[in-house]
Symmetry: C2
């Protein structure tokens, strides 16, 4: 068998997905889904968010989830979202050693999202780095491809935010298409600039499927050499403002496409679809990924290349 | 303003879309939707199919639709599907001068679809060419990227079918991903072979969005120089075997992506979305395109690059 190039899928469903579900999901259900994702072969996961439980009640069990996950899965990279120093400290105390901090490239979006200027967010990030130097922090660069308020986001602003993060010792950056406006030509153009300017950076891409371009953008990024993608089981989360609209690009659709293209994601699609089915039945949010519906259809017998 | 490269969108909704709708759509509604598509800027359309009304009652008004369309729109390329010589003659008598003839690359699918071997289909096509030499006939090469019965379809079989069609004087071929299994790497690989072997051919690509890869495949094909795509208003038609599954790639999502990438489709997206809204209200089939939902959402103000 020929050598297949590896791609890492980071499932953000337990954080970004659950966070967007209104009815509270009990902790055991969350852990059951995380177990399913792990059994499917996912080895990097955003497991929870240490936000204020007043702001997002769904994440009130962050410490419990984090402790359980870290206790159970020794070879899982369990990432938590941290909004500020208090969240970072809580995450650290729960055993989290890898965290994601969101800063918007767009001033307007950063202000609306977390009521801070980008400079204030970077200062807060510096405070976290100083207080918890052993916590590995990634930058999630939100609205990297467009902003709901400001419209177009200049490439220079993306490069500048990455530069500021690097000065704080951050080596991993996720470029997020927060509202699903990126097109594949734009993806190639921006990635050309970013990898040219910051060749040592570990880049992850996070695309929403709001306008149906999620997989097109993942393909474009893969062609540019990107090997880390954040996706969400069932397509949970993201920016599903409209009824029937997609949010995140679904993990199962991404795995299917990349494996069919010849990449090795390390994920067992059949097992993953079992988790998607469970999510579809037990979580009060629509599964927008296509692969669950295809599995039981007349098209099912040709879902793989072989 | 810079010169933008043109891409031709062929809307197949009035044929492939309506054909898959069970309740009969009255002719006036069909013509109203065709009018909307024309007003949106679409200048190439599959308007109907001259199949037996016993096989597909929805297409019983084929001659009426064709005559009305040809009478009204002088600058519209109105294409009809023809299954056999009788259909071709009926199409010709209704004024159709451009027709599509479907032959599957896969023997198994051709047999299941039209109960003929590929050789028998080519012989029938030859009969049509001889009887109606002034009818321009395109080949729709079905299952070019995979077959629901045979699985993988060898590239050689695609090349061979195109070669046979060329010997019958056919210059235009549409490669159809009949069941939505194509992945973008495969698209690039096959197109490299086809354009290398048949450089003079006018190629059109037709992708289904069954597994979410419709736009990814259109992007991949556009990168290979393809400038003709068949899509369907609202995503009607295609292979929607499962509830919630997508069929055809939606015209509105395709137009949005290509225009945002800088191509000129000649189509006014806002007007087109008016037609999609009408389809959503009046046609008993789900709109699977994303752009209609996005239009009224919080993400709407950034649907264009400018």
């Amino acid at each position: 068998m020929e050598h297949r190039e590896k791609i890492r899928i980071i499932d953000v469903g337990p954080r970004d997905g659950f966070q967007n579900v209104k009815p509270l999901i009990d902790t055991q259900t969350k852990l059951f889904i995380i177990e399913g994702l792990y059994q499917s072969g996912i080895r990097t996961m955003e497991v929870t968010s240490f936000v204020s439980p007043k702001a997002i009640p769904q994440m009130a069990d962050a410490a419990e989830v984090a402790k359980a996950v870290i206790g159970r899965y020794k070879d899982l990279r369990a990432i938590a979202l941290i909004p500020n120093l208090k969240g970072a400290q809580n995450a650290w105390n729960a055993g989290i050693r890898e965290a994601a901090c969101v800063i918007s490239v767009s001033e307007a979006h950063n202000k609306a999202n977390i009521n801070r200027t980008v400079k204030e967010s970077l200062d807060a990030l510096e405070g976290i780095r100083e207080a918890l130097p052993d916590l590995e922090v990634h930058l999630d660069a939100a609205t990297a491809f467009g902003c709901p308020f400001a419209g177009e986001v200049p490439k220079e602003a993306v490069l500048s935010l990455i530069g500021s993060a690097q000065q704080l010792g951050i080596r991993k950056v996720t470029l997020c298409d927060t509202i699903g406006v990126a097109d594949p030509a734009q993806v190639k153009e921006l990635l050309g600039e970013v990898t040219g300017r910051y060749p040592g950076l570990e880049l992850t891409l996070h695309f929403h499927n709001t306008r149906g371009m999620g997989l097109a953008n993942i393909f474009a990024a893969a062609e540019m050499g990107i090997r880390n993608f954040e996706t969400s089981v069932g397509g949970l989360g993201g920016c599903p403002f409209a009824p029937g609209a997609d949010g995140n690009t679904a993990t199962e659709d991404t795995v299917h496409m990349l494996e069919k293209m010849g990449f090795d994601t390390g994920i067992d699609l059949a097992k993953l679809l079992g988790v998607v089915e469970y999510v579809d039945r037990h979580i009060d949010a629509p599964v927008t990924g296509k692969m669950l519906g295809v599995t039981n259809s007349a098209c099912a017998n040709i879902s793989g290349r072989a």
